[in-house]
Amino acid sequence: MRTKQAFMAGVAILAAATMTSAVPGGGTVSGRVTYEGTPAKQKPIDMSKEPSCAKQYATPPPTETVVTGPNNALENVVVYISAGAPDEPPPSQAAVLAQKGCRYLPHVLAFQVNQELKITNEDQTSHNIHPLAKINREWNKSQPPGTPPFSEKYDKMEFIPVKCNVHPWMHGTFAVLKNSHYSISGNDGGFTLPNLPPGKYTVTAFHESYGDQTQEVSIADSETKNVNFVFKAKPY
């Protein structure tokens, strides 16, 4: 799905004085991601086949394919600069995916091309990490309890669904991006992309079930622009 929305609510221009960014004269794109319609309900996950995980929860945790917050907020949306910013070398610190309680923490992990990706297993059961890459190479590795973290990287941009074949409810997403200008919407749907030099940018919002949307923005010196995204929720 690829819907272009010229939806630009409330363009707020803040005074330059409020900026405390690392880039002199850097601007900011921030806003909220929401849904309209009725999203699929988060269902409790049945982990009874894996007692060592099930017992870690007082009540079963909910599925995370669509996570919503108050006031129609849509969580776990990757908002990033898809055009206008140069590719950047990877940062030196690793991005970390933990397998804990038979879930992926975080559910959506964003990191850069060639950045180190560390994968840990904190459970008392074996997981197999199986990222279903299509542009990058597909691999599938077993990680029994007590195995030291795996260190991986991806050399091309891609949104990769991740699963564990042993525990079919475990799903996650890797967002492999070309620059450091990305943000993942929180429980309030909010995101912030700071440190943008003046220029024209394409901002893309990606949701693992609802696809992506893009908007164009221009940023002047130290400007903050408000950009919002609205996804059509599907009830299935």
Partner: protein, 243 residues
Amino acid sequence: MYYRFCWGCHGFRGDGNGENGPYLNILPRNFVAATFKCRSTPTGTLPTDEDLFDSVGRGFTNSNMPAWISLTKQQRADMVAFIKTFSPRWKTDKSGDPINVPAEPAVTLDSIKHGKELFTKLECWKCHGQEGRGDGPSASTLTDSNDQPIRPYNFAAGSRFKCGTTNHDLYKIFMTGLDGTPMPSFADVIKPEDAWDLVHYLRTLQVTHKSPELALWMTTKEGAEIVKAQKIVGTPTGADIEQ
């Protein structure tokens, strides 16, 4: 050649969409994606030419990929070279380095017993079942990377593997994984000497296939009882899926 023998299944462009493709329950390999099951190379890497050459000669058990031994060696080698033209990956990526397979130690009871422990500890049984019948607790939920249901290998029923027949092949199977399927690689987590113990134990699960491992295992009380029990229970327990 390809257009005479292969494209009916693998497709005109090598994308697995030949006209017979959709009627096969395991989809023909899509040569454009270039993800291959049988490799001597680590998970996530391209196989060697030799791996592909062996696959074409061997064919695949339990699926419709025939064994192409009627072709001459040269014809098979040409075919491999031709398959590789379907995917740009062969231009951008190199084949992986084959994993190191140390010489096989002697088959002993200790080795088999240790292999049995590893089968439990590494949770092979979650998919393959305690007795290796392909009926573990996760078995019925498995799908391959084309979203097709896939069944774990049933050791009790089989003698051959998709990726070979020898102990050496078996070692490579679980160390490199079958890419594009739920069968993961264990190369990062099994030490070479332990891997051979696992190979020896897996042979004893193939109760319908004569092997030195099975013969030795049957000489023990424990082994004889397990094997007898396995043969009596004729149907897989747990998951109700067709082989």
